[in-house]
């Protein structure tokens, strides 16, 4: 791979975004789990639940700060490395980012300080509200960022303006209620909830194995398993919804994920495993499940899902149509108000394919001068990397189903087996801690790598989106980020492990005094005992 500014900018974005997303899912889920624990504390008054809130809150804090810190980079990555992208779609894409700041970041960041510093300064209920506001703020932020990302996958509610040479918003509501964004939002936050549940379960299992902090560990497992089970189911259901929306919004991505080279008769089969080969345009050693793909992708038995080869032919036609649009655009830009009406009409008719003509700009400065070979090549470029997508997707889905199994198991043991867990299961829970992170990162990989060669699907090619910086600048900042982020990661992991080893400051005495008093209360008043 030659290191040009496009590849380096992609590498830098992928690296900073994936690093940022090491911290985000845990923030999303743990903020809610902590708020749930504090709710139980406020409702029951049992000190153990306050100790749990504080313990998991400390781990939340160590993780949260890096999520915030690395998120700052993301807010500016577009302007720094993707300046043409920023100009070209900022009119639409900037809005959700700004609203994210207004609605979400301020909320979570303003109250998170009070969450840690406000225990003695606020009443129980006020502090609980603060905890929920932090959780709400984190989750709102995911909503807006996925509306922004959803628009890159399915750019609705916008059209090209020749005067300003950019996309401009035509309907805020279309951008907001983009079906891709909605499915992605619930899928992503649910994945965050699963991540936090697996984390809490794993750390608690570690304590159970060591025979430490058993009260805290058992209660934490119960909370994590019930919350985790619901979330794990939600991840898979909404993941399926994303697949369904891709079947009509991002056909090429879907075909690449499934390594579907040819359009098949409906209902298409689903390839469970195999080795996709882009050169040969076939999948070796494929194991098929009949009908499954057609059902997932179209929810019908009659609708066809187009294969990669058919989509390449379609791209070919759209590139040719795009060249007509580009030609008209150049006339409009030169003549401005004096443009003949028929040129404007031609542009209107072909403007949806303008982005496809821009695919040619990798090979020639002026798409109108493209040779037939260049057009063939550009059409071919619309196929993303099939092999990595095929496998990344399958590993992610496999893990997703695995989490359902894991959570269901712990939920059943917790509900019907008196919170007793066999040692092998506890060991497995500890070892599975990294799994949700792997699934989440693979999920983003599928979403973003699968969108290539576009930054905004069908509108703006990746190769055109970058800033015209020098390779030296990019290498310098890339090296800087890698070094800096690696050091921070080591420090963060070190602190996490230190605080997990140290465990909660469990005030056993306080808890026992409370429980004695509580038992006395129950004896004194049988009505309460009955209610319990």
């Amino acid at each position: 791979m030659e290191l040009d500014i496009v590849e380096l900018s992609r590498l830098q974005f992928a690296m900073t975004a994936m690093y940022h997303f090491l911290f985000v899912p845990l923030t999303l889920g743990l903020s809610i789990l902590v708020a749930i624990m504090e709710t139980v504390y406020v409702m029951t008054g049992r000190p153990i639940w306050r100790q749990m809130t504080k313990f998991w809150g400390t781990l939340f804090g160590i993780n949260f700060v890096l999520g915030v810190a690395t998120g700052i980079t993301m807010e500016f990555q577009f302007g720094m490395n993707w300046s043409y992208y920023s100009h070209y779609v900022g009119d639409i894409f900037g809005a959700p980012l700004a609203i994210e700041g207004l609605m979400a970041f301020f909320l979570e960041a303003t109250f998170v300080g009070l969450f840690f510093f406000g225990w003695d300064k606020l009443s129980k209920v006020a502090h609980l509200i603060v905890a929920w506001l932090v959780a709400l703020g984190s989750n709102f932020s995911a909503l807006w960022i996925l509306i922004a990302n959803g628009w890159m996958q399915n750019p609705v509610g916008a059209e090209f303006n020749p005067d300003t040479m950019r996309m401009e918003m035509t309907s805020f509501f279309d951008v907001l209620f983009n079906e891709v964004a909605q499915a992605k939002f619930v899928h992503t936050v649910s994945a965050g909830y699963v991540t936090a549940s697996v984390f809490v379960l794993g750390v608690s299992a570690f304590y159970m194995l060591r025979g430490r902090h058993l009260r805290l560990a058992k209660r934490s497992i119960t909370v994590a398993a019930s919350f985790g089970l619901a979330s794990a189911l939600s991840v898979v259901v909404l993941g399926d919804e994303s697949g369904y929306s891709a079947s009509h919004t991002q056909k090429m991505k879907l075909a690449a994920i499934e390594a579907m080279w040819e359009t098949e008769e409906a209902p298409a089969h689903f390839t469970l495993v195999g080795i996709p080969d882009k050169e040969a345009r076939e999948t070796h050693y494929a194991v098929h499940i009949p009908w499954a793909m057609g059902l997932i992708g179209t929810r019908s038995l009659t609708e066809e899902i187009p294969g990669i080869n058919e989509l390449v032919d379609e791209a070919h036609d759209r590139i040719e149509s795009g060249i007509i649009a580009y030609d008209a655009l150049m006339t409009i830009r030169a003549e401005r108000d004096a443009t003949p009406a028929d040129v404007r009409a031609t542009f209107e008719q072909h403007s949806e394919d303008l982005g496809f003509a821009m695919l040619l700009m990798r090979y020639t400065d002026d798409p109108r001068t493209a040779t037939p070979e260049m057009i063939d090549q550009a059409a071919e470029d619309t196929i993303p990397g099939v092999f990595p997508l095929f496998w990344a997707f399958r590993i992610m889905v496999g893990l997703g189903f695995g989490f359902i199994g894991m959570m269901a198991y712990f939920f059943i043991r917790s509900s019907f087996y008196g919170q007793s867990y066999p040692r092998w299961a506890l060991h497995a829970a500890v070892w599975l801690i990294p799994a949700p992170w792997i699934a989440a990162e693979l999920g983003w990989f599928v979403a973003e790598f699968g969108r290539q060669p576009w930054t905004v699907d069908g509108v703006l090619p990746t190769a055109l989106s970058v800033s015209h910086l020098s390779v030296g600048d990019l290498l310098l900042t890339l090296a800087g980020f890698v070094t800096f982020y690696s050091v921070l990661f080591i420090i963060e992991m070190g602190l996490m492990i230190k605080y997990i080893r140290k465990g909660p400051t469990e005030d056993v005495e306080e808890t026992e005094i409370w429980e004695e008093r509580h038992a006395a209360r129950l004896q004194a008043d049988p009505a309460i005992a009955a209610a319990e």
Binding site: G61, F76, S86, L107
Partner: protein
């Protein structure tokens, strides 16, 4: 009826230009004292307990304050996409340095006191110093460069291109006038940080902060005055030479711009804008006096007034320019040709009107809950502190 046409395009552009200023000022007023406190940390606090007191004065609020910076980025993206595209890629390495500082700082606040080791804490103290002092200086340098103009041009596709070795090359930013601007912002935010510490601490720390703050304040006043003189005699301004099309499409290339003359001619055309530098001087002088006498609340307010005056004086002097280009003045970004579309500006205004009052209300509530001095007992006690 189309809702967004309720407010005309040119009015929306001016409103968003004002809001851009409000965000920058909001950032300087809130996160400004965090940065100032970071820059003062090694000098006003000597022992570990003292340093923890200083850090805990901003401990619960820095996170919210920093959001002004992030929101500033988001708002520029949404309301001024060409500015977002040109400036952050243009000031590339400087921006990278700012980001590094802004990452270092939160981590420093949060992690410093999580281990006992003296070396660990000393290292984080330096991180906090760099994380505060670095951006305080660099923001001023960036503003100075904006006033001097920067060498970019927009090509036929409106793609930002950078000329010469200026861009990306960090040292290219360090032109003398820009460095002077950096001194203004650095000293001003240090004064602001000292005013905050005067309010939130007592004893030795308080006395040291007052001493350093009043020196910083005097430096800021002198440097600001020097920058004014320099603008009058040594810096070329920019002027729009074509007719102003305030309602036109956002395409910078549609207007003509000439370099030459003085930025200060704005004061002849619009004498009322002189109120901004006057407030800047007045606020800073009163803040210095407040730091020398034993006033607390009013000192912080005067310091805020000074910052408000200084930052708005830059914007008002340059209006309608936002980021002028030296190599191709026609590419310069102005209020009339670098905004988002009419519809987007309107939608974003509605969002800002809904959320800004909410943000101000709950931020005020949080500061009220946390009102009062941070003492040595606070940080050595059992409650959660950094």
């Amino acid at each position: 009826m189309i809702l967004y046409e309720l407010i005309s395009y040119d009015v929306l552009r001016v409103i968003w230009w004002v809001l851009l200023g409000v965000l920058l000022i909001g950032f300087a007023l809130t996160d400004g004292f965090d940065m100032g406190v970071g820059a003062l940390l090694p000098f006003v606090a000597k022992t570990d307990v003292e340093r923890r007191v200083v850090i805990n004065t901003v401990g619960p609020v820095w996170e919210g304050n920093q959001v002004w910076f992030i929101l500033g980025g988001g708002a520029i993206f949404a309301a001024w996409p060409p500015l977002y595209a040109v400036s952050f890629s243009g000031f590339y390495l400087a921006m990278f340095a700012v980001l590094a500082c802004f990452i270092l700082r939160p981590v420093g606040f949060k992690y410093r006191s999580k281990r006992e080791s003296a070396r660990w804490r000393r290292n984080w103290d330096w991180a906090l110093f760099v994380g505060g002092a670095g951006p305080a200086l660099l923001f001023g340098v960036a503003v100075g460069n904006a006033m001097l103009g920067v060498p970019f041009h927009l090509n036929d596709l409106l793609m930002p291109m950078y000329d010469g070795t200026f861009y990306g090359k960090f040292l290219g930013l360090l032109r003398p006038f820009a460095i002077l601007s950096g001194v203004v912002s650095f000293a001003m935010l240090m004064m602001h940080g000292a005013a905050w510490l005067a309010l939130k601490t007592e004893g030795e720390i308080n006395a040291r902060a007052r001493r350093m703050g009043s020196v910083a304040g005097i430096v800021a006043i002198v440097a600001y005055a020097l920058a004014g003189v320099w603008l009058a005699f040594g810096v070329d301004g920019f002027t729009l030479t074509s007719d102003v099309v305030a309602n036109g499409p956002s395409n910078p290339l549609y207007s003509e711009v000439a370099r030459g003359g003085s930025w200060l001619s704005a004061y002849a055309e619009r004498p009322w804008i002189a109120i901004a530098p006057v407030l800047g001087f007045l606020g800073m002088v009163l803040a210095v006096l407040g730091l020398r006498s034993q006033r607390e609340v009013s000192t912080l307010l005067f310091s805020k007034l000074g910052i408000l005056g200084v930052i708005s004086s830059v914007g008002l002097t340059m209006f309608p320019f936002i980021l002028p280009s030296t190599v191709d003045p026609a590419s310069s970004l102005t209020v009339w040709d670098a905004s988002s579309s009419h519809r987007t500006l309107f939608i974003m205004l509605v969002c800002a009107l809904i959320f800004m009052p909410l943000i101000l209300a709950y931020t005020a509530w949080v500061y009220k809950v946390l009102w009062g001095k941070v003492t040595e007992d606070d940080v050595t006690g059992p409650s959660h502190s950094y």
